[in-house]
């Protein structure tokens, strides 16, 4: 898109002036180069979101923004229920609470290397991945309700992991306000065998090492040192979340009409937060978030099992667990008031700065760890939230690299088996259930995650702490 249609606020902050039905301006956090690469649809979607009732301050886009469903992926918006604010399907999406969990192993790269092949094989055997895979956990109707209310706490109560893990998950591992009665039987049934499964597409489990340290003091406080090995898991609420999205698309389409909300794109469908439909959807989303938290907790347990089989001296401890596709109730200052807002983050990470009560005590002086996934062939980043991110973007940051090539183009350009060989030659082991799926996820099909993370850092949304590089990756 063209820069001249935007007001430049700084090198990394751009404003789309208010026009037409926009209630607030649009705000893009990115470098000039990234903005020039943005699809024009992103701007259209930012403007559409800006026209929704009760929106506060600005309709925002993170540096990895791209064309999404209603909201851009990388879209952030806050709504005040007291001002007719809405909750929108477009701001959450079909993959509710898809997120990243990173765990330390207490081991260094050279200690893991001799075992890496065996370790990956064990992880690949233990963590169900790919289309149609099933977890070991079989649930019935009443048990699934416990998952939807209890989140990661439920998983720990069933023996998957430790109570200590919960402190390092957003919301302490359990999202309040979840109501299983608002989730359809179909959604629940689809999850009976899916708890503890990775999924496919862009979901992954990666063994990584700390390759660069940008801020030694903060890295030390996070317990991260050069060449330390960590494990990152990227997955979400699986079929249950997808079905909640599908079910509420219809409910909210009707609600948008009933409450006369200007919806300029079908997927923006929404309902006032203070309406029966809005309350039902929010309770269902909270249940979906709990499903994702439980899922990542069970996978973490499987990771521990694999390590204890192969390298028993490893000590797997939680660094943090973040969610990307969420709507959460948070308190933020707006003008002279502290408001209770419904923050939508679609393909964006919560990135709370130092001092927030929601982050565990150990991180309260550093800011919340912000885990940004890259691609299986490049690198990922760990940042921390900042005070300036709190004031500029309700404590939000980017979530990943964002695609540069479509899946079709990627498959034309790369062959899965050749790609895996090439990555293998560079010392990165890949295990996958689908070569074709791996080709779609080729590193070259994504934007440069470093440019996205640098823009996030330079815009002041979050601060770079370390870069990690993959040693091995499991793809669905």
């Amino acid at each position: 898109m063209e820069l001249k249609s935007l007001n430049k606020i700084s090198d990394y902050v751009w404003e789309i002036p208010r026009e037409g039905e926009m209630r607030v301006p649009g705000r893009i956090f990115a470098s000039a180069e990234l903005v020039e690469d943005f699809d024009d649809n992103v701007v259209k979607q930012i403007k559409n979101v800006a026209a929704l009732p009760g929106i506060q301050q600005a309709s925002m886009a993170m540096p990895d923004a791209h064309w999404g469903y209603g909201f851009p992926i990388g879209g952030v918006a806050a709504f005040d229920p007291e001002e007719g604010g809405i909750i929108s399907m477009g701001g959450i999406g079909f993959d509710i609470s898809c997120g990243v969990r990173t765990m330390r192993t207490g081991m260094r790269r050279e200690e893991i290397e001799p075992y890496i092949g065996k370790l990956v094989d064990r992880l690949f055997a233990l963590v169900p991945a790919g289309v149609g895979s099933e977890g070991k956990i079989r649930l019935n109707q009443s048990q699934i309700d416990e998952v939807l209310v209890g989140g990661a706490q439920w998983a720990v109560s069933q023996g998957y992991g430790y109570k200590e893990d919960l402190r390092y998950i957003e919301e302490g591992g359990v999202m309040g306000g979840a109501d299983p009665a608002q989730v359809s039987d179909t959604a629940k049934k689809r999850q009976f065998r899916e708890v503890g499964t990775l999924g496919s597409g862009n979901q992954y489990l990666e063994i990584q090492y700390v390759a660069e340290v940008y801020d030694e003091k903060i890295a030390g406080e996070l317990g991260l040192f050069r060449d330390d090995v960590v494990i990152s898991v990227h997955c979400g609420s699986r079929a249950l979340g997808h079905q909640i999205g599908t079910d509420y698309l219809k409910t909210l389409a009707e609600a948008s009409r009933r409450y006369n909300i200007p919806v300029h794109e079908r997927e923006l469908v929404c309902a006032p937060i203070n309406s029966p439909e809005g309350r039902r959807y929010f309770s269902a989303v909270c249940a979906g978030i709990n499903c994702a938290l439980a899922n990542r907790q069970v996978i973490a347990h499987l990771v521990r099992e694999a390590f204890s089989d192969v390298i028993p001296r490893a000590r797997i401890s939680m660094l943090y667990d973040v969610s990307h596709n969420t709507c959460k109730v948070e308190e933020h200052p707006v003008g002279s008031k502290i408001k209770r807002l419904f923050i939508h983050r679609k393909g964006a990470t919560r990135a709370f700065g130092p001092g927030r009560k929601e982050i565990p005590e150990e991180y309260r002086s550093t800011g919340q760890p912000v885990l940004i996934g890259g691609t299986m062939g490049t690198c990922s980043y760990i940042l921390v939230g900042t005070e300036s991110g709190m004031t500029q973007a309700f404590g939000s940051a980017c979530h990943g690299a964002g695609r540069a090539l479509s899946r079709t183009q990627a498959k034309k350009r790369w062959r899965g088996d050749a790609l895996l060989k090439e990555l293998g030659a560079r010392g990165i082991i890949i295990r996958t259930h689908s070569y074709s799926g791996a080709a779609e996820e080729a590193p070259g099909a994504y934007k440069d995650v470093t440019a996205v993370v640098d823009a996030t850092h330079n815009a002041g949304l979050a601060k770079k702490v370390v870069m990690v590089k993959p040693m091995a990756c499991i793809k669905g």
């Binding site: 791209h66 079909f94 289309v131 689908s434």
Partner: protein, 137 residues
């Protein structure tokens, strides 16, 4: 004449079915979606599942049809390759033939999370009916 195809979308993928009738376009649209998940030529049409859905207009009905198929496939652990649709008064009655999913034999590629309203179009161009939308993968 090709009966179905996928089309480009930056983050996800579009599915499109053609037909001599609205029903046939819906049937072929479903083939397009399952061709994203696996190689449908490798799927045997040995079992049948029935789905019913309704929506206020043909476009919403197409998305509804695809989403019902995703749920039905997932709940039964199957992949579908052949479809039959009857539409009357915004109500759809459909049948899908397929078999139990086999990651190896069916060259399974990726999950589809949902059919979406993005680039959704159901209509007629000359003699040909077209049904299309983007699916979230």
């Amino acid at each position: 004449m090709k009966t179905y195809e996928t089309f480009e979308h930056l983050a996800d993928i579009g599915v499109r079915g053609y037909g001599k009738s609205l029903e046939e376009a819906f049937e072929n649209g479903a083939k397009a979606m399952f061709s994203v998940i696996a190689e449908i030529d490798a799927v045997k049409p040995s079992d049948r599942e029935e789905v019913r859905c309704e929506a206020e207009d043909p476009e919403m009905l197409f998305v509804e049809w695809l989403n019902c198929l995703l749920s039905a496939a997932h709940l039964s652990g199957k992949l579908f390759c052949n479809f039959k649709v009857e539409i009357a008064d915004h109500k759809l009655k459909g049948w899908a033939w397929g078999e139990r999913l086999d990651q190896e034999r069916h060259h399974v590629m990726t999950e589809v999370k949902a059919a979406t309203y993005s680039m959704l179009k159901v209509g007629r161009e000359g003699d040909v009916y077209i049904a299309q939308c983007v699916v979230d993968v």
